[in-house]
Amino acid sequence: MANPTLETIHGLVYGNGIRVGKLSNLGRVIATMMGKHADRVPFMGPQIHDHAMTVAKVPARLYYWDSQLLLDVHLAINRWYGFDTGTIIADAYNFEVEALGAKFIYSDTAMPTVDTNHPLINERSDLDKIGPLDVTKGRIPMATELAGIITKKVPGPFGQGFFCSPFSLICQAMGYPKAVRAIKRDRGFAQELFDYVENDVIFPFMKAQNAAGAKASVGADAWAAFPNLTPDLVDEWVVPSAERLAARGKKELNMTVSAGLAGCDYCEEDPAKFNKEIMFECWDVACKTMFLDVAFSGMGRTQDWNMEWLQEYAISHGKGRRKLPIFASLNGRFIRDSAPEVIVEKIREWIEIMGRDGGLLFFIGNVPADSPPLNIHTAVQAVRVLGKYPIVENLSSIKIETKAYQPFDEWLKGQPEEEIILKAREWKP
């Protein structure tokens, strides 16, 4: 079919119970987001830029500067693993502050990263000194170009630009502790900071992305995850800021701007502290920062969560007879550190609890660079087999082989991305 509009419509129709035709990957995701089941549980492409770079063996000093290379590496890796959609993103937190003049560290093997020990913003007067974002500076042109070519090459609801959301951008510019002190102790300064990053930094970036062809852009906000911020603080600062940006993007650019994603993502690390009431509060607020109502797990220690709670939330907060779609995120460290058999059993457990009635989507909460590819291939395979609808009555009877996968370099031969990846490996700074 290869027409994202038709695929989306097919998914909507399928998700409404008219289960005809063979679903595309996009259609499968859309049908599941309706809170119902598709032909099988989808596996959404995770944030994977570090890992993709490592597997493709391309140099960091080229990969994080070259939009076409970054896109093609993602497309190849996403197909190699067999994800249903892709998250194509070069670390979303560093582009704006780099262009504003923050001190950075550059490495041969890792993404460029800001040095918060030499903060860009220390006090009010720094805002005037720094001034608005110049979209010709730093790697902003690369990011805008990337947004444009994603829109052309990967059309559909999941192809888009990216940016750093206001609270995370403030943290990147002045360090998290100072950002927290501002919102807890100096509301006037905090509001000035939000106004500055929204109007003088993010909006010009949106304009540039829009000019490059992007119709949508999403802003990650990991610094606003719980317990970095509480649900009250996210509600007070992150949600209104996201609403302001969305309204301005729509009004002035006719663009969908979604800020604050992952705000209130429940990232408590200590299982002894897992608390159902707080999780529900976090999910309530997280819904407000997502582009749709969803029972959301992201970067948290989900392998130790009681997923009955997430299922309960999805059912109790659904509308009509639909439950909320569940984004079930396999923790990145869990994927990296676990034996394939352990990953399979976790997926089996989650499908048993949350998948039988549909509305379940898997992904991984940011794949670490050194994750064994076998673990990811096994996870995708397990979701495909165990998540086939109708889910078999005795799910434990299904055996998942953790068989060897075709090595990436062997698979790459003859793929459209082969030339650019092989050429990149030869690149010298």
Binding site: T54, I105, S107, V114, I183, P227, P368, A369
Partner: protein
Amino acid sequence: MTGKFTTIREAVVDGEDEKAALLVEEALAEGLPPLEILNQGVIAGISKTGELWKANEYFLPDVILSADAFKSAMVVLEPALKEGSDGKPSHKVVIGVVEGDMHDLGKSLIIALLQSAGFEVIDLGIDVPKDKFIAAVRDYNPAIVGLGAYMSTTMLEMKEIIAELTKQGLRDSVKVMVGGVPTSQEFADEVGADAWGKDAMVAMEKALELVGGQNG
């Protein structure tokens, strides 16, 4: 006297940095023993914050402000403590964020907590090359070296540092702790660390376990 300690403790718990410093100044001016101000006021405060954190009553913003108040109080208190020191050595911790990595929020919190537990902390900062860790272990002879990383690409440096400690014949003389967002117990085991701190509070507890005591 107890009232003054209580107000210092509350100022630290409430994250009121200026008030905490002022109260410590007053307590010293009133002639209260610095060690008692430390234990019954400042450390009691940061310990209470730790309890509230564990009980899901305090979250990271509260801990940040409390740590600020702790540090402000310590700036005033430290000179008086040094004057009255009995010369008893405390355990040293060398700590830093590995090369290529700039994120140091966790490190800052851990340093505050380690100091509250009585450790002497040598902070090597961020983006610390392997050789600098090795030299610091040689120079300071710490009980513990703490390695932090935020990125899954940079944390691999920890393995190199531990291997170098072994190569230089220093590994048996120092305990190695690792921590940071992408790390895990499995990773700590894999690289041969002695302990992994999943958050600042746990890191402090494990540091105490490693030196086998109630105090650093």
